[in-house]
Symmetry: C2
Subunit: 444 residues, 2 copies
């Protein structure tokens, strides 16, 4: 039986047209990052499994990770995400580096998924993180996210950033509803699933988590908050309604709870407005980012197209990532953006250029064997000027060369005939006779 | 116990200074490839193990490959080289594509090695291949190799390309010495090891493979060929000396053996001279590239530095790579160049720029909180011009900002003071007072 020509399930072959598209996307990511002074980094494709276990517990390890035991009996995994690696790397150097630390990366990652639209087993993910910058860093990451999206030609008609704050969520779930961490996790999951179930089912699910009708109503009021004005009214109503002792999970008093758990959300929206990106950002209580390590801002970039209503990217602020390395706390803010959902977004909105043909400055061809050496010489000299030059190997009849040149985006075609050199401008379809010197010394 | 901060054995963390170096090297590789009209491609990080088994047999699989069984019981491996992947991809599309097909890639690969100088478990490898171009393709790949090396500032003082031809080697080993494929493989290994053993040991090893003193002497004459002039004399002497019936492994006559097995080597050197790269290329009988799939030209790029006398890259021509997919033969020529030995080479010859500091166009900072909003606005506006701008978050005293700016290569520093905007040219160390408009609309 012949060997399969297909790539491994859930992975892709990037033929040149695909690779030009990928390079275009990665270049935009790098350029946007560099405009914000983010520095490039990368880590290994394999990490020891303990790193992921320390960060995410056993759940991710068991379900999605590509892990195996190496020949030296080390348990290793192909990286399923970049955050543990960046935390490990920052832990090595953060004491010597001036703050803030701004880093970005575009690693290839693997997860054992059932392949489907927007989800593959191997994919690349843009990661940007800022460490040691507090809430200013939260705003900067959002600005970077907006500028990155805009650099692809996307506008506020195409995407929006949905924002929430884990401190505010904790204030509602733990402070107001008064749940222990275990049931709180279930509320998180319920928020995530809200838009996928009918209201009655949602109401029933809420009541299966708390028998207190007042708390159930508080939770429902929370998930229906549609704007920062709603949040303001909700918070005011809460404090008109509850006494300090009701906030039983906050050891401190209500004012302290407000300043530590509610104020940051209002502050971030003030800063978002001041930074001029208010039109792209909206409060959304359903953005909670289930992962344990977020401790402040959480956000997702959403496609606004009704037929592709999905998250393209997500991120947030975290205070304790270095803890697993016994390092002092260093607050960070990060975002991750996968090229698969980004590409779906760009295709949906027709924002990707055509990459089907390669771009060349020159195709140099000889019509007969006597001209081959001259063609080779011209190609070499044009390349020395930094130009992209295809040397048509050997020689061929004009028609064959013309047909061949149709498969590529070529600016100029150079023919070596028996008697002369002809330069054809492929855009204007005009031909001129040139000398070798004119051609190779840029003297036209 | 705290979690380890080190990367997995034999892999590297690329901190920004390392990553800038890697990006520099990859950019040179891409640019040189594009000047020769090679198109970018990539394949998956994982392939099914059968692909490697079909190409290399069980040897590579057992010793060096990172293989494991996935959750769906598929036997997969992290790619240890790119050639099987490019063959698989070309097998999918070669019937529709105009020839020649010119492709390049810079994949990350993994091999289970004992880490040492020039050899790591994870590394990146530049790969360039041309399919369907015959011997013209062999010369073009060598030209590309020379231009790539030169693009780093390397000259013929730093490197040389050692060339041989597998057809010529087979002519000597099978035709003249008359060994079967098994012992021939041992001769290949002996050639590889020649420079690592004293002459007497080498002579003894040769004689352990053949009892015929004439054949042993032929082999010794072969391994001592130092130039194409030597090869000419060797071939002439052979045909003066042997009768046609001595070439018993060639079913054909001596003239045919010459045209199919000896002429190509002379032809390639003619073409190398005509292409103007003769100064970089030298015949070397010890370059045999043990891998089975080479069938024509074989070459290695060598560092000429006496303290780093090692191969940086290797490659050759192959006729039968698509066979394992039941596809018609498509001749190809390829090269692989690892970034680890290349970096050692560039460091040895002091050819790498300093990447220790990030390059920025502007650092924008406020001296006091009142100036922060203005600083943010300036940063945003400068970025819209495509400039690389670091926004100094918050505000700080001049001295602190100056110290901070020393850690980066910054062209201009913008201060927002209580009363004015100051622009400091970091190269000339001069300061001027500017207006917001002058600064952000490029009207200086």
């Amino acid at each position: 039986m012949a060997l399969s020509k297909s790539p491994y399930r859930g992975t892709r072959d990037f033929f040149p047209k695909d690779m030009r598209g990928r390079n275009y996307i990665f270049k935009k990511m790098s350029e946007a990052s560099e405009r914000f002074a983010y520095e490039p980094y990368d880590g290994p494709m394999l990490e020891e499994v303990d790193l992921y276990r320390a960060k995410s517990g056993d759940e991710l390890i068991n379900d999605q990770i590509y892990s195996f035991t190496d020949r030296g009996e080390r348990e290793v995994a192909i990286r399923p995400e970049m955050t543990p690696t960046v935390a490990r790397m920052v832990a090595q150097v953060h004491r010597e580096l001036p703050k803030p630390i701004r880093w970005f990366s575009i690693p290839n990652l693997m997860r054992y998924e059932k392949p489907q639209r927007g989800r593959l087993r191997e994919f690349w993910q843009y990661n940007a993180d800022i460490f040691g910058a507090g809430q200013e860093g939260e705003v900067e990451i959002l600005q970077l996210a907006v500028e990155l999206m805009k650099s692809f030609g996307a506008t506020g008609d195409h995407f929006e950033i949905l924002v929430n704050d884990r401190r505010f969520v904790d204030f509602v779930f733990e402070g107001l509803i008064g749940l222990e961490p275990g049931p709180t996790k279930k509320l998180y999951k319920l928020v995530d699933a809200k838009n996928k179930m009918p209201p009655e089912k949602f109401a029933a699910e809420v009541r299966s988590l708390t028998e207190d009708e007042g708390k159930a109503k508080t939770f429902e009021a929370f998930v229906n908050l549609a704007s920062m004005a709603d949040v303001r009214r909700f918070v005011d109503a809460v404090f008109a309604d509850v006494s300090v002792s009701d906030l039983h999970h906050f050891k401190s008093s209500a004012p302290v709870a407000v300043s530590s758990h509610v104020t940051p959300l209002f502050k971030i929206f003030e800063k978002i407005e001041a930074a001029g990106i208010g039109d792209y950002v909206r409060f959304d209580p359903s953005i909670v980012r289930g992962l344990d390590y977020y401790t402040g801002l959480v956000f997702e970039i959403f496609d606004k197209h009704p037929e592709n209503r999905r998250a393209i990217a997500g991120g947030g602020a975290y205070a304790n990532l270095l803890q697993i390395f016994d390092e002092a706390a260093l607050e960070g803010v990060g975002m991750g953006l996968g090229e698969v959902p980004l590409t779906d977004f760009l295709v949906t909105h027709n924002l990707l250029p055509d990459f089907s043909k390669p771009e060349l400055d020159y195709l140099v061809a000889a019509f007969n064997p006597e001209g081959e050496a001259t063609a080779a010489e011209i190609a070499t000299k044009l390349r020395r000027q930094g130009l992209k030059v295809e040397h048509y190997l050997g020689s061929a009849k004009p028609k064959k060369i013309f047909n061949y040149s149709d498969r590529k985006n070529i600016k100029y075609l150079v023919f070596v005939t028996e008697t002369e050199l002809k330069l054809r401008d492929m855009a204007t379809r005009t031909e001129t006779t040139v000398t070798l010197q004119e051609l190779t010394e840029g003297k036209r």
